[in-house]
Symmetry: C2
Subunit: 263 residues, 2 copies
């Protein structure tokens, strides 16, 4: 707990490989907080055995430089065996909000996310934490944890930062081949089509999703497209705002995800 630093204290939790999306969180934190702490920790607990923990991009020096330029004075970057020493054995058991979509495709992922977030929050003692809307289900899971565990922490969700062609920034975009990169924006196009249909009064979940599905461009292959309650991540049917249009596509062995909230 960083008790003697100027308050409010804002925490921006990251896995490093800092991009403009992370920096937008820092900017928001700087506008609201007297002290900004960023954490950089590639959390093994949230990767499945066949996932990309080992090859996940790491760029510690460059990350620190970028964060410092934007006003971050403290970076918390613990070693894995400091975070999870021998005997570590207590976890956060996330509820139904974590059961579908990313939770179903990545068993144990949100358990790992929630556990590391709780540890970071307890170690640092922030007044506010900053997350990207891009990982909407993560926001819902962490929000549920904050509420259910009575944590006196304000959660701030910041808008998704996109490439000019609509692709949401992600540290995993570097995995994409040229062909995959070219097809990647069709996910945002699909989500936008669903959003537009809902805005125009479409209330059938199936019909709205079908309109989006038609926008996907090969080799993008649907992992899921849906319209959900932003808090519970249960499917919304019939579609009634507020809701979140969520989607994920496979591009080769890489899977990307995105979403559009509708107020």
């Amino acid at each position: 707990m960083l008790a003697s630093l100027p308050r409010p204290l804002g925490l921006v939790p990251t896995m490093g490989a800092i991009h403009a999306g992370h920096l937008s969180l820092v900017d928001r934190a700087r506008a609201e907080c007297a002290t900004i702490v960023a954490s950089i920790f590639v959390n093994p607990l949230q990767f499945g055995p066949s996932e990309d923990f080992e090859r996940y991009p790491r760029a510690f020096e460059s990350d620190c430089s970028q964060l410092e330029v934007r006003g971050v004075r403290i970076v918390y970057a613990p070693a894995v065996d400091v975070m999870y020493p021998a005997g570590f054995d207590t976890h956060v058991d996330v509820g139904d909000v974590a059961s579908r979509y990313e939770g179903a495709l990545r068993p144990g992922h949100f358990r790992g996310v929630a556990t590391v977030c709780l540890k970071l929050f307890n170690a640092i003692g922030p007044d506010a934490v900053y997350f990207g809307q891009k990982d909407a289900q993560q926001c819902a899971v962490v929000g549920a944890m904050l509420r259910d565990f009575d944590l006196p922490i304000r959660m701030v969700t910041c808008p998704t930062v996109r490439e000019p062609d609509g692709l949401a920034l992600s540290s995993r975009n570097v995995y994409l081949s040229e062909e995959e990169r070219a097809a990647a924006p069709s996910l945002y196009a699909a989500l936008s089509a669903i959003r537009d249909a809902i805005s125009s009064g479409e209330r059938s979940r199936e019909s709205a999703i079908a309109l989006g599905r038609a926008k996907l461009v090969a080799p993008a292959k649907e992992a899921y497209l849906d319209i959900v309650d932003p808090t519970t991540f249960a499917p919304r049917d019939p579609v009634v705002p507020p809701c979140t249009v969520i989607g994920s596509v496979w591009l080769g062995t890489t899977r990307i995800l995105d979403n559009i909230p509708i107020a």
Copy 2:
């Protein structure tokens, strides 16, 4: 978080039905803290469906009087639906320390204990929390959670308070019939015999436990007797201090438990 109260702030979590054991925790907290908060909450999450949640003794007015006399100025006694509102769905997943003994006899019990403790700790923000050695496995589970979740809270374990005949104080002792009450101290006698054997150099777990078992008096019926590591609650075999001699007996439909730590 009770941010404006004099520090250090000590929390004594209870389920009410205050007895001299609870008051000894308050006394210890008063010696160490500028502010003492006691919580009174009969936590449904830590009772099994066939357990005694409904008939668990409740005495709120008398509890508050007793706590006030000993220096408690704040009692936190939330209603069940304040603690667990609709949609509550995040829990603490306790590890192997919770798997045996009380954890095996009461599936879900320690998950409920750890979850409510984390909520109480987050809501109140104590510097120190006070638990009774009587519930040794609970102390180990909560201690593991504090450590694994990086909670900046000191845990203080206070010695078990006993009746003159050795029976550990417990709110559940009121359930015992006259005959059961007469046999109840044989649990402490059994644990003491095991402790004496270890102190005299006995290193065989089986032999030490057999000596204790012989002390049990009908109708007391063994639920478990064992010698464990005080932190992991794994059986210690051969017996090497530090260890904790633990035991539990059935007396009719009531089960009592006790332990003796060996440094």
